[in-house]
Assembly symmetry: C2
Homo-oligomer: 199 residues x 2
DNA sequence: CGTCTATTTGAATGTACTCAAAAGCGGTGG
DNA sequence: CCACCGCTTTTGAGTACATTCAAATAGACG
């Protein structure tokens, strides 16, 4: 099992000696998901924090009109979970689903508590994770209030470089809050006839 | 000084005996603000958590196009502060301004730390405040992604009952992410000619 | 190869914005 | 108390942005 990426992800936030690294890795479990497999379904309890080693997930909900809205994508080196459900162990508002076949590490709620008891400095890690989630949400709000669909698409590309080549367009449309049809039009507009111009 | 409302606000989340109530109230300061006065300006450090006893505040930012976007209103019994700036003591992304003449209680960052040392159960209070802020943000995102301006206005009315009668319409428009002109049209449409129909 | 889903294209429609002008409203000073 | 000033709200016309619906095309997978 290769813990390299997840350990360095944690070490970006808190220092860990070798013993602590071993303590941490003994609490996490490797798990693979197939394309389209659900990690969490809405209204279930979120039992895991999931770290994506390889692949892509989406966290989303279906609104009253039946439209799916994607809150965020989680690609390599991202964490994903329904924060509220995980912390309070109440039914999740969101579902989490693999868009690509994915490899993950998961930290269960039980091990999460044990980890904090055993290595108290993970309090800081969790607090910063929480803060970062909050800041990410804020950024989405500030952008959605003001930006046009085209600007939002550009933000998406900057936030998730290359992801537009990996996943279906309708997932991106659900993230941007626009229809797949309109996203198609935007993308066409953004592709100047670069090839033809060379003739 | 009447601490009744703020103490019951805290007691909705954690139990406090009389001694703890006294400890808490000794850390907070009453402060009044005039209409249009700034509690916090963007790029300054947020030194206070502010609890609104009476009046109305807005927390907002100005985007690149020069448009003001209101993140939330704080009326009676609401807390308002730039969470990120307060916790990390870094420059604020948002500014906070009184819309009505307002009476508040403020908890400074320094007293916030002392309070947590002296009465550790305030850890829980802060954690829940944080969670609630997070959930509020989530709700805004989920609504903004899917709802039309008219639906958003309805949500606003449900979230802040009667507030549309107290504050200028342009503030509401800035909250909804639409122009004041368009909000005027929406409101007209939502007022069926009830009086005339009676004739 | 056939089926199913995703994407593209076009026309018609709806939603929200800009600009400009007029009307309303609150405060201030004479 | 009234007149005036500045700011907010309303109204209308024209425009831009984004959606719906339907049909055609392209891709993915067994």
């Amino acid at each position: 099992m290769n813990f390299e990426s997840i350990v360095s992800n944690v070490r970006n936030i808190i220092d860990l000696n070798d013993e602590e690294v071993h303590g941490f890795t003994s609490f996490i479990e490797a798990k693979k998901f197939n394309r389209k497999e659900f990690i969490l379904m809405a209204n279930a309890i979120c039992h895991y924090q999931t770290y994506v080693v390889k692949g892509c997930m989406k966290i989303s909900y279906v609104d009253l009109d039946g439209n799916e809205n994607v809150v965020k994508f989680a690609v390599e080196d991202w964490w994903v979970y329904d924060l509220q459900s995980f912390i309070t162990q109440t039914p999740a508002r969101y579902s989490i689903q693999a868009i690509e076949a994915s490899e993950t590490f998961q930290l269960s709620k039980i091990n999460y508590e044990l980890l904090h008891q055993k290595i108290p400095k993970f309090e800081k890690f969790s607090r910063i994770m929480f803060q970062n989630s909050y800041i990410q949400l804020q950024n989405r709000i500030t952008q959605n209030l003001s930006a046009t669909a085209e600007e939002k698409y550009q933000h998406f590309q900057e936030k998730y470089p290359g992801l537009e080549l990996r996943i279906p367009q309708k997932e991106i449309a659900a993230y941007l809050g626009i229809t797949p049809v309109f996203l198609s039009i935007i993308r066409k507009k953004r592709t100047p006839g670069s090839f033809i111009k060379l003739l």
